[in-house]
Amino acid sequence: MQGHLLTWVTFIPVIGMLGILFVPKDRKDVVKVVAAVATGLQLWIAVMILFAFDKNSAGMQFVEQYDWIKTFNIQYFMGIDGLSIPLVLLTALLSFIGVFASWNINKASKGYFALFLLLDTGMMGVFVSLDFFLFYIFWEVMLLPMYFLIGMWGGPQREYAAIKFFLYTFAGSILMLLAMLALYFTQDPHTFNMLTLMSGTYGRTFQIVVFLALFVAFAIKVPVFPFHTWLPLAHVEAPTAISVILAGVLLKMGTYGLLRISFPILPEGALWFALPMAILGVINIIYGAMCAMAQKDIKRLVAYSSINHMGIVLLGMAAMTKAGMSGAIFQMFNHGTITAMLFLSVGVIYDRAHHREIDGFGGLATRMPVYTGIVGVAFFAGLGLPGLSGFISEAMVFIGAFPVYTALTILATLGIILNAGYFLWAFQRIFFGELNPKYDNIQPINGRELFTLIPLAVIVIFLGVYPMPVLDLFTATVDKLLEVLNFGASMALN
């Protein structure tokens, strides 16, 4: 097992899925336990990987490399570096929490948990693949379960939301397929090996064209304005656990793809497109915040706040400075934990009230004090309060971006003020003021819900005070990435 940790961490959920398929349909409890065990094991292995991970090395670790399809030189090639490891942990953690957040799903629960586990494998696979073809397979494998999970277990508009989500991402991913093939044929012998592709040299026009194709594919996933319209719909219609996964993990795949593939393979293309990326990032920040402010539905508000937060990641990446890049990666991780908390909190209240109108509540703090405290942590982390993890990464991004895009960064900080505005305003309307008499007897938060929320709250607070454990993980990787980009810059100048 030691030698194949990445294979295990990726495929344990699939083993669980196969197990679930053999459980009789009426034993819903067994299905849930199997899912919990599978994701629990996955989390355990992910933690083992974390402890064995050498953070001083910028190279790939835990590498597994075998021939898969010899006639086309496709390899089963896995490995992780500092960029992937936070996301591997995040995926494992959120999947485990997701199972408990889905504990109340009783409609066709066998199908639900089987698909959930397949989704888990797809996500994990994306973060550990180093062969572009393998990466693509995992990237696509994740789409179908998502389509069903939204479409079968979602809210009233679920069918529309599911197909819209799918068509958007599918269009993007086939574009990625073409870009991937274009890269494949530049090498001799042809290869999908990302590390080999990174060492190749490409013409400037080629870099720009391929970069743009990949950018669209990844931007749809992030989502970058103007490709964001699938997101609010999908997030709102999806069941709670799926919203958590969608916002917590899936959105990161877009930015991860940019950092793993587009930037190091096509540095000149990245440099050429850096300013537009920064502008798009700022648009995301401002536009996301403005939209969030206008929402009446809490879940929609959280969904738009994701657009805002991912804009910060994009800005940090576009800056291409050490602080900006590290901030971007850290923000990816933090957004995963914070947004998961936000969606879980919304789920808690929705399960009780069966609606999500911000104005439909009021004074809940008197009836659900513990819940109020936890939501407070989530909301304040979301608006970037110092002492919580979101602040650190946002500050790093702004510090990194300011010397490069001064005006844009100033604009972006305005977006942060807006963030504070809508989060605080929503918090006030839900928890303070007159108690809505309808909710006089509302149930306080229960143990299972606390179990899903507390670990995340602990992480958010801990990393807000002492972020080094995570930052240390990717320092070496960021240095190496910047080196590649600087080299690209010198090439561009010549």
Partner: protein, 495 residues
């Protein structure tokens, strides 16, 4: 010497002889058996096809010409023969349990299918214009009858009539093209035509017209735009097993003869890498084919969205797939041909599978309308899941073999260079469009609730088994396809 050559050829003609013998046996058995037992002819047909399959596999496929160079024996033909036999085996199996066929005598049904098989065998190996024409008709005529097999159903009659008329016109046009080609070159053998075209100065305008006329015949068989008009009506009206069969086997045979014709006549089988369109280099042939491919994809996919009848929808989807496969012809090099052949093989399983599920649902619930599929994913869960897999494979999503097929087609285009990037983008747009209607079936089956009156009907285990057998290659080849890829690559050798 004449006798020598014909008799000497016979030993390589064993599979065809076995099929012929089986046809005779089936017809005679049908005369002897009472109507109630006429389904037993299926067993004879099945056994015959199995033996023929073994014969195809064991017969050496060292490229050689048979019967005075009218048909060729080569790995390329062998590949398509295997493909046709697989489709036939499944079709016979499916027909046994199809309700709409129940009241008929089966002898002629299986006899006609086997005749088509014989015709397709000759078609995929024909290297003489006359043989191409004869075998094309030998495939077409039984299919006209089979399309109209449900005598009492108006739609079936309509299908047969439309099929005959379109078929007659297009094969007439094709023969006219052949006559021009013969007039230009003085030969009917494809290799000799190639030699003449190489050595002498043929008027390129006449040649273009000739090829366009010939394309009408092939285009009709593969149902590409603008020769596709027959297919929706025929697919909808014909008995569903026949629809499924028509959509895979004759289509594959049509592609085979198309490839062979273009490859041998215009490129020449001696060119090692087959990258040049030698004779026709003065004309923009790849562009013309690319345009046909793009139009075929768009038409098939866009019209499919609007269909309410599953069979009709699958008919348009099948047109669209002809467009995808044509992307491989556009580049006409090893990579393109390989991609086409691989795709045809995968397509066989997924499309036949889709039609099989349509039959199962028609058997159980008597409907072919998409809206009536509501909630069936919960009534017959296994069949629903299998259908979803076929639909996603047709869309081209991993981890199904449908993705691998599309992947190779796209990779052939990208490798060919920048002039076809646009076609790849068209292919992408179409894949996305196609998801919309394939997913509609899945959506109706799984996302909507069944009407309360709908009872759960037990699916016949026989049909469930066949569905599983069709699904396994789709899933396995989606994960590991190296062996099949190698087999396909090795089949790229022409006489």
């Amino acid at each position: 010497m004449d006798i020598q050559s014909n008799i000497a050829s016979l030993q390589y003609f064993l599979p065809e002889l076995i099929i012929t013998a089986t046809i005779v046996i089936v017809v005679i058995a049908d005369l002897i058996l009472r109507k109630k037992y006429s389904y037993q002819t299926a067993y004879y047909a099945f056994a015959g096809v199995i033996i023929a399959t073994i014969a195809v596999i064991v017969t050496s496929a060292v490229p050689r010409g048979l019967f005075f160079q009218t048909i060729a024996l080569d790995p390329f033909a062998k590949f398509f023969k295997v493909l046709i036999l697989i489709a036939t085996l499944f079709t016979i199996g499916i027909s046994l349990r199809t309700k709409e066929l129940e009241r008929f005598r089966f002898g002629e049904y299986y006899g006609l299918i086997l005749t088509m098989v014989l015709g397709m065998f000759l078609l995929v190996s024909a290297i003489d214009l006359l043989m191409v024409y004869l075998s094309l008709e030998m495939v077409s005529i039984p299919s006209y009858i089979l399309a109209g097999f449900l005598k009492s159903r108006r739609r079936s009659n309509e299908a047969a009539l439309k099929y005959v008329i379109y078929g007659g016109v297009s094969s007439g046009v094709m023969v006219y093209g052949f006559s021009l080609l013969f007039g230009l070159t003085g030969h009917t053998n494809l290799n000799e035509i190639h030699q003449v075209l190489l050595s002498s100065d043929v008027n390129s305008l006449t040649l273009t017209a000739t090829v366009l006329l010939i394309l009408a015949g092939f285009g009709y068989k593969i149902a590409s735009v603008p020769f596709h008009f027959w297919s929706p009506d025929v697919y909808e009206g014909a008995p569903t097993p026949i629809t499924g069969y028509l959509s895979v086997a004759p289509k594959a045979a049509g592609f085979a003869v198309l490839i062979r014709f273009f490859n041998v006549v215009f490129v020449g089988n001696t060119t090692p890498n087959m990258t040049e369109w030698f004779v026709l280099s003065s004309l923009p042939w790849p562009e013309i084919l690319a345009a046909i491919s793009a139009m075929t994809m768009f038409l098939g996919n866009l019209v499919a969205i609007k269909q309410d009848n599953v069979k009709r929808m699958l008919a348009y989807s099948s047109i669209a797939h002809a467009g995808y496969i044509l992307m491989g012809v556009v580049v006409l090099n090893h990579q393109g041909l390989f991609a086409m052949m691989f795709y045809l093989l995968v397509y066989l399983f997924m499309n036949l599978g889709a039609f099989l599920i349509v039959i199962i649902i028609a058997n159980n619930y008597g409907t072919e309308t998409i809206d009536d599929y509501k909630g069936l994913g919960f009534k017959i869960p296994y069949i629903g899941v299998v259908m979803a897999i076929f639909m996603f494979a047709l869309t081209g999503l991993p981890p199904t073999a449908g993705f691998i097929g599309k992947f190779y087609l796209f990779s052939a285009l990208i490798e060919a260079g920048r002039q076809f990037y646009w076609l790849a983008v068209v292919g992408i747009i179409n894949s996305v469009i196609s998801f919309y209607y394939y997913a509609r079936i899945v959506k109706v089956m799984f996302f909507e609730d069944a009407p309360a009156s709908l009872a759960a009907v037990e699916t016949s285990p026989w049909m469930t088994t066949i569905a599983t057998l069709l699904m396994i290659p789709i899933l396995v080849l989606g994960i590991y396809w190296d062996t099949i890829a190698e087999f396909t690559l090795n089949s790229l050798s022409f006489f």
